[in-house]
Symmetry: C2
Subunit: 345 residues, 2 copies
Amino acid sequence: MSSASSAERTVSDVGEFELIARLTSTFAKPERADVVVGIGDDTAVISPDPDAELLATCDAQVEGVHFRLDTISPRQLGRRVIAVSQSDIASMGGMPTHALVSAALPGTLPVAHFDEICGGMQEQMATHGGAIVGGNLSRTGHELVIDVSMMGYVRRGGAVTRSGAKPGDAIFVTGDLGASAAGRDLLSTRSAPIPDDLSHLVQAHISPTPRVSEGVSVAGSGAATAMIDISDGLAADLGHICAASGVGAEIMQAEVPVAEGVAAAAQLRGKDPWEYVLRGGEDYELLFTVAAAQLNQFRVIFKELPIPIRRIGRILPQENGIHIVAPGGERRSLAGKGWDHFGGD
Amino acid sequence: MSSASSAERTVSDVGEFELIARLTSTFAKPERADVVVGIGDDTAVISPDPDAELLATCDAQVEGVHFRLDTISPRQLGRRVIAVSQSDIASMGGMPTHALVSAALPGTLPVAHFDEICGGMQEQMATHGGAIVGGNLSRTGHELVIDVSMMGYVRRGGAVTRSGAKPGDAIFVTGDLGASAAGRDLLSTRSAPIPDDLSHLVQAHISPTPRVSEGVSVAGSGAATAMIDISDGLAADLGHICAASGVGAEIMQAEVPVAEGVAAAAQLRGKDPWEYVLRGGEDYELLFTVAAAQLNQFRVIFKELPIPIRRIGRILPQENGIHIVAPGGERRSLAGKGWDHFGGD
């Protein structure tokens, strides 16, 4: 049957020019008025917002390192690669507006998967009114690699970097933590079935939600002194803020919002749930600091946000180091690494 | 000796955080005043040029597909990945200003190679006053993949796309063609030594020069109706202009500038030199069209450009197709594919 065989065609079967045609038709005609030229020319042409500053970042997802095609569908993969880059723009307080997508494809990838990946990217990009304006295809011998460059805007002077935290600032986090790492760990045991009541953890890992409107609100409050998205884990990303700002910090363990089901997943896997919460990474929640003098002003914003925000600690002078304080008062150092792509263990 | 063992350390040995520190120190402190935040935060922050339009493009280079580390040095590779993206900006008439670099590295890559690749990128980016403002590292199991997203500016309304060519326009090309493809072919025969008098062909393949000032001048003349850089080969890239513009074309074979040594290389390899010239690709010369009424105006620009420009043919109505006319008057179709990354043959 020709339709069945068509569904199983690979990217090698159809060739680069047809793949480009498919990609172009998925991403063509963005609704954004500022896209002068979209996909299909040597470069995209964008009419910049003169009142804003441009944000730009890139992130690659590599098969076997960041995802496995037996645990994530092609459409989910497409959504995920866009979502994690939107999160980087959100963590500066910006709106993600334009993306470039570069895919290195193994020749054996089914064309149907390619189409689904593109469809997922388009879907996720549209959730915040953005457009995919450029792309590149190349072949790879082994792993599928998708690299996304995301651009966005923030009002002039309004970007919240990692480097503005000061001793006395309060530390906040959006949402709750640990679900993605617990879900990733459950997925890693291919043989064991995942209990129904823990499937939301897998979902959290596969389909993270970038906190775009939250990031814009936090930055817009004018009260935030530093912000980052939690991709390496709370411990490592707090460490990034502290290193960039030249400060220390103290987290109250009792205040850290742990996602539902994380404790159960840890028990099932014989792990410490705090490993997921502090070092797991890929939560894509926002971690930010607010000057003590502006806490009241910030509380107004706080109540308007669609998701809960929790105050979990405070910034200290650098010589205090970075610690977590247990409910009984015991202090443990949070120094060390989160999730190292190249390291040994 | 510790210095010898240090020179042989791999990216797996040193881990992601040290690699990021090395990359950050290579790319830190760009001299451009418009870089508000460079490498080291969640995104770069750029103060956009309010009088210009933003250009953005991405291009990936994959080990084993676009380069082999036994025929290109790490520093040359770094220069090349930046140069080919600068060429895309040039082909719209823009100045390349800011780049994001995403590298997927096999764990076995020597750290010294990583440093050299970064150094080469920095060197090439600086040739046109640009800055690398963001990066991402990930691990790959096999091939080294380097993806560059390049941004640049062109005056508002001044971008020269592929789609503006009209019947009657003259077709021009910068420099000469075929050297890169001939050099690539010579490199592909690992066993045979490359004659000294053909080494410039290899050089042309390994170290292409993006025609940045030429592109800016051509666009600035206001006379160009369409432009593209020759990455897929003259035949394919002329085809891209014709498809986007809805026109046909006729190239006079006697006018096409063939690079020195291309005929000798073809003889050595038992090939047709016109395969290199028409279908070889990776010349990174500019192919553009000029309205007949503006040819005189354009000739002024023509004489000021640092490299030769050659008029090679004319745009025709679409129904005429795309042909090359031999000195004896014989017409051959140029339709078909240039260099297909996925195709069979």
